[in-house]
Amino acid sequence: MSRKIGEVILDLKKVSLSFGGVKALTDISFDVREHEIRAIIGPNGAGKSSMLNVINGVYRPQEGEIILRGQHFTKMSPYKAARAGISRTFQNIALFKGMNVIDNLMTGRNMKIRSNLIQQAFWWGPARREELGHRAKVEEVIDFLEIQHIRKTPVGRLPYGLQKRVDLGRALAMEPSILLLDEPMAGMNVEEKQDMCRFILDVNDQFGTTIVLIEHDMAVVMDISDRVVVLDYGKKIGDGDPDAVRANPDVISAYLGASH
């Protein structure tokens, strides 16, 4: 592997999140280093998705802060997160169903577009060059994910596995420095899972993208991640490399359902 794990890029400090009386996350701290694959695992309802939504700014934690490249965010928003180079995929695919694959990926380039409305409308000079540049970038992503054959298909018509891939493609089109994956392999068959694993590893390896992923499938997580955080009932019960986590008695009891 050519990648080298670097400094801490994203640091979460004592994050607590509750919805009314329900505590989704309690006092959680962990960090993510540059270029690593960091997994968040835990049984159902452990707060994994909440955690991701906090990083992404969808939820605002009542306590704690997010430090991204040394910059403190007490109030993150999806918009700010996107500007800061964080992109994400969704557990229940949230693609733009009426648009075709290319258009969906092009929306990922939205933030990078500089030309103004009038130039775009008349397909004029700089706007034209710019659009072509973005199209080329999108084509690269399409090649990378091996979805050339469905470029012009409206995504609503694609099978589930391919939709997941397009979802990943849109996130990649943003050229993120941090990629959040919300159960990228949920609902897939073995073959699709293998493909997805390969893509995740390739993204990490070739583009050096830092990856934070949530996943149910323990075997997959242990295979591809560098470090793993384990949540249970909104609390952190384990953190470390896969082998250490596997040996952690708290983790074993949480997963095997031993009495608490």
């Binding site: 918009y79 969704f90 949230a94 693609l95 939205n110 409308a121």
Partner: protein, 309 residues
């Protein structure tokens, strides 16, 4: 033949006006998934603003009787619609992100009443006329082809031209620009659009501004034909079957739907009317929309909604 063509053209002209109102609906629905009940009120509000500013502004600056006064009134009324759009986003929509469609629908109902109220407070309740200097005199065409020729209203012709240009620009905007793509993205999925860094609030302001501008153009044309009065806000109801016919998500659909209904109304009134004792024009559009709903629930040009179960 000459008479038939005259009826047809009359229908097309009337249809163009329906299309303009329907366009406002489609724009907002496409970009935010909201069925905007306030579109009629926006047309009324814009027309009222235009009528009154066209009266006041020349008075203030001594521009009586010049086109400059009218143009200034149009610009000011347009700016006012932008302010309205901004306020709607700020006070209403911003607080309803990621809410159910029905919630947003009810919100627009509320907006409609507020706009009507503010409109009549600011601009008064009387009937006003808008005179933008469109030529009113009819012309006769093809006199050598048909006996008596074809009688065409110049005003209608210009109105149709304006509508056509507007539609062309909007189509370009939606299909070819990045902002247009962002609008479509927002319409499809709020959450996903946010996650890729599309600023939801700005997009909504843009689309309501555009809808406001379309309402202004529609209001000015209707107003200069029939005068501005409170009942203008009910033109939205006339445009409803147009939207159903054309499909809620299609700009060309709104245009063609309007034309079909305009023509259908006039032709059925003239040719079928005598058989059933007249009055067809009033309900024809609704019946047509119902029939279309039976066979194509998404309208003639709407996007078919595919749902996985």
């Amino acid at each position: 033949m000459g008479f038939f063509l005259e009826t047809l053209i009359g229908g097309l002209m009337a249809g163009m006006l329906y299309s303009l109102v329907a366009l406002g609906f489609v724009l907002i629905f496409k970009a935010s998934g909201v069925f905007n009940f306030a579109q009629g009120a926006m047309v009324l509000f814009a027309a009222l603003a235009m009528a009154r500013f066209a009266e006041w502004i020349p008075g203030w600056f001594g521009l009586e009787g010049s086109y400059l006064g009218t143009a200034a009134a149009f610009v000011v009324a347009g700016a006012l619609m932008f302010v309205v759009a901004w306020l709607i986003e700020r006070l209403v929509l911003r607080h309803l992100v990621n809410q159910e469609g029905a919630t947003l629908l009810m919100a627009t109902l509320g907006i409609a009443y507020v706009l009507e109220g503010i409109g009549s407070t600011l601009f008064g309740n009387d009937i006003y006329k808008i005179d933008v200097g469109m030529p009113k005199d009819p012309v006769f065409l093809f006199e050598e082809v048909f006996p008596g020729g074809l009688l065409i209203n110049k005003e209608d012709f210009i109105a149709a031209l304006i509508a056509a240009v507007l539609v062309g620009l909007l189509t370009l905007f939606f299909q070819k620009t990045t902002t247009g793509r962002a609008l479509r993205a927002v319409a499809d999925d709020h959450q996903a659009a946010q996650s890729i860094g599309i600023p939801l609030n700005r997009i909504w302001v843009i689309v309501w501004c555009v809808a406001g501008l379309v309402a202004l153009v529609a209001g000015v044309i209707w107003g200069s034909k029939l005068g501005v009065q409170f009942s203008l806000s009910t033109v939205a109801l006339r445009a409803l079957p147009v939207v159903i016919l054309g499909g809620l998500t299609s700009v060309p659909g709104a245009i063609l739907g309007g034309l079909i209904i305009g023509v259908g109304e006039k032709l059925s009134e003239v040719y079928l009317g005598p058989m059933v004792g007249g009055g067809i024009e009033i309900w024809f559009a609704y019946v047509l929309a119902l029939v279309v709903l039976l066979f194509r629930p998404q309208g003639l040009f709407g996007e078919k909604i595919i749902d996985r179960v």
